[in-house]
């Protein structure tokens, strides 16, 4: 399968490991990524806060380039913020005539043009969960992640806003859970899986940001997660790089490695850890990874309806229902 690939600024440096591991598993899964030539920053959540039309123009230049270079009509972004900005621009331009006309003129000034809807903007998680599919993933597993307790963490911008059509539930997404289960990991029912890491709040009010991070770390720890699997550079950066700050600020002692789900996939696919960018995380993942065993754990006690005699029957879970 062939996709146009928009790495985004983070993957160039701070989230290098995300990029490397993505490329590594792409090989195993037979995905071809064609990087968009001379792409520019998507504007993150900042640019749109200052100026609307330039913000959309900035994003749309990338869409225009991707469409023109036609590597594929499917444009993939591994970074949640980039993914949403690209998708949103494509959506609103199709919907809002006035904005569309302005952007057309702006692009024209750069000798470019873009027809909304001509690209299908996808997040990396979507193509792996939906286009590739769980069966194929399971087929690639050489070293199952037995006994590794992972908290699947989606963050905000992939599941939400669902208005433009989301491939997963905006409140209770399950695709990452399913991927990790197929890798053999023990996936915890992480209540905060789609809660917010604070985004750029670290730059605006550290107080606020640290509290948001604390909630996530505490809850993951309460569920005895060995690590948190993310799919967004911003989430990874905040949870990883500020973990010390959180501990210092709240007098806690969290040591939860934050890794990209692609790194865990690569590991399960039997690829060497150093080719997956392990080691670049600040809270080291090594101790957690050492917990991985060869034999499968006994299946965790699933809540049967009315286990104990006194118990009242439970309604079936949404997934089952």
């Amino acid at each position: 399968m062939k996709y146009s690939y928009y790495p985004g600024c983070s993957l160039e440096k701070n989230a290098r490991s995300y990029h490397v591991s993505t490329m590594a598993i792409a090989k195993s899964l037979g995905i071809e990524f064609v990087e968009v030539e001379d792409w520019n920053c998507c504007g993150a959540t900042e640019y749109i806060s200052i100026e609307k039309v330039p913000a959309y123009a900035l994003v749309t230049r990338n869409l225009a380039l991707a469409a023109e270079q036609n590597g594929s009509t499917n444009l993939v972004a591994p970074c949640s913020a980039c993914y949403l900005n690209l998708k949103k621009a494509d959506h609103y331009l199709g919907e809002n005539v006035d904005l569309r006309q302005k952007i057309d003129l702006a692009l024209e000034a750069g000798g470019l043009s873009y027809q909304p809807g001509s690209l299908n903007v996808q997040h990396l998680l979507e193509i792996i969960a939906v286009d590739i599919g769980y069966e194929e993933i399971e087929a690639q597993v050489k070293r199952p992640l037995f006994n590794l307790r992972v908290a699947p963490y989606y963050g905000c911008l992939v599941p939400r806003p669902a208005a433009m059509g989301s491939f997963d539930d905006p409140e209770h997404p399950t695709s990452l859970d399913n991927i990790l289960k197929r890798l053999g990991a023990t996936v915890i029912d992480f209540p905060l899986k789609a809660q917010c890491c604070g985004g750029h709040m670290t730059q605006i009010s550290e107080e606020t940001a640290l509290e948001l991070l604390r909630r996530l770390l505490k809850n993951a720890a309460d569920y005895k997660a060995d690590m948190i699997a993310t799919l967004c550079p911003m989430c990874q950066l905040n949870l990883d790089a500020y973990q010390d700050a959180v501990n210092a600020h709240f007098g806690t002692d969290y040591k939860i490695p934050i890794v990209y789900f692609t790194q865990l996939m690569g590991l399960a696919f039997g690829l060497p850890a150093d080719e997956l960018g392990f080691g670049s995380e600040i809270v080291s993942a090594r101790p957690a990874l050492e917990k991985i065993t060869l034999e499968e754990p006994k299946p965790a006690r699933t809540r049967e309806r009315g286990k104990k005699k006194t118990d009242l029957p439970l309604p079936t879970r949404p997934e089952e229902g």
Partner: protein, 191 residues
């Protein structure tokens, strides 16, 4: 969603709707139910809850709205937006409020605008951002102590891990980007 058009001069309420893409007209249908404020991760730090902001807009308390820190504390998690029973694009409205506040020259010192602006002129000159570099520069510019704390806190870590550099990468066709952005600014005005 039909809304009767009147001849009176546009209020801030009208402008917010006009400047927000998507189903912004739904703002008229706000039930004041508080789902947005109840869902907001950073809500407790806002001086007015998003719901209150909408009520204030309706009441014509324009200064208070534009002075409010509410939009600046929005972390764009979009929970309010997916949960709103009236399908109001709340997160997008928060972006609009930020833009209008800047346009009207409101906003508190050493808050988000500078960070955003730092970010933006970076992008405009290089075509690429590199958050950490920007963060550093932002802190050095606006609160050196903060910057020191940062560096001490995480900056060094990242430095050691080779995840941070202070030289941004540049795109080839910066001139093309510039002409696009300049045209866009000319068309878009501040908001």
């Amino acid at each position: 969603m039909t809304h009767t058009v009147t001849s009176r001069p546009p209020t801030l309420f009208d402008n917010v709707i006009a400047e927000t893409p998507g189903k912004a007209l739904n703002l008229h249908a706000c039930l004041q139910c508080g789902t947005c404020a109840g869902s907001c991760p950073s809500g407790p730090d806002m001086d007015h809850s998003p719901r209150a902001i909408f009520a204030m807009l309706d009441a014509g308390m324009d200064d208070e709205v534009l002075n409010s820190n509410t939009p600046w504390f929005c972390v764009s998690c979009y929970y309010c937006m997916v949960r709103c029973p009236q399908e109001i694009p709340i997160t997008d409205i928060m972006y609009t409020l930020k833009r209008l506040a800047i346009k009207e020259g409101y906003y508190q010192e050493d808050k988000a605008p500078e960070f955003s602006e730092t970010f933006c002129d970076f992008v405009e000159h290089n075509g690429r951002s590199f958050e950490l570099g920007i963060a550093m520069r932002y802190h050095l510019r606006y609160h050196p102590l903060g910057a020191f704390k940062m560096a001490a806190g995480m900056g060094l870590h990242l430095f050691r891990k080779g995840r941070m550099d202070l030289t941004p990468s540049r795109i080839k066709n910066v001139s093309q980007l510039k002409s696009i952005l300049n045209k866009a600014k000319e068309l878009g005005g501040a908001a």
